[in-house]
Point group: C2
Chain length 96, copies 2
């Protein structure tokens, strides 16, 4: 299934900025960064539970917000994208 | 239907920051801000087309990214939220 992960981490403090990096790092292991704070992840139920658990370990519930949207397949019928694809900026060097 | 609007506007320039404000302003007329750059909008097809058209008028495709996710109903089966609800901070004073 496709999960869209959106997060809003309070980066007013160094600790917050560290959390932001850690949240992004978790997401990177499960999907594709599509915006600064948005990832699209294709996962099965088990991986989804793992992803959720790891994210919840990183965020501070009193300061941050995390939203997980479950898209109905086929994904392409439920996503419209416009403008710059930032993927290339966020990603590690591509291996073709 | 429920549309999740996620945007990534390049705010390195004053023009970009202005765009960011304008994009948020458009979204505010169609739904609820749930994160800094994420809105959830309950709209019909006509309103959705209007929203899309207005957003595309604001963003600069070479600099910004816009994603529109269409959620399958019931919405609550497809959204998980954790942590702080920023809604209250983003919204105008609530009228009960």
């Amino acid at each position: 299934m496709w999960i869209v992960v959106c997060y809003d981490v309070n980066t007013e403090t160094p600790k917050g900025r560290k959390r932001l990096r850690r949240v992004a790092q978790v997401c990177k292991n499960y999907g594709q960064r599509v915006q600064k704070s948005v990832f699209e992840c294709q996962v099965n139920e088990m991986k989804f539970e793992e992803l959720r658990r790891k994210l919840l370990r990183e965020i501070v519930k009193e300061e941050d917000n995390l939203r997980l949207y479950r898209l109905t397949e086929p994904r392409d019928d439920h996503v419209e994208t416009y403008g710059l694809s930032r993927t290339i900026f966020f990603e590690e060097p591509l291996i073709v």
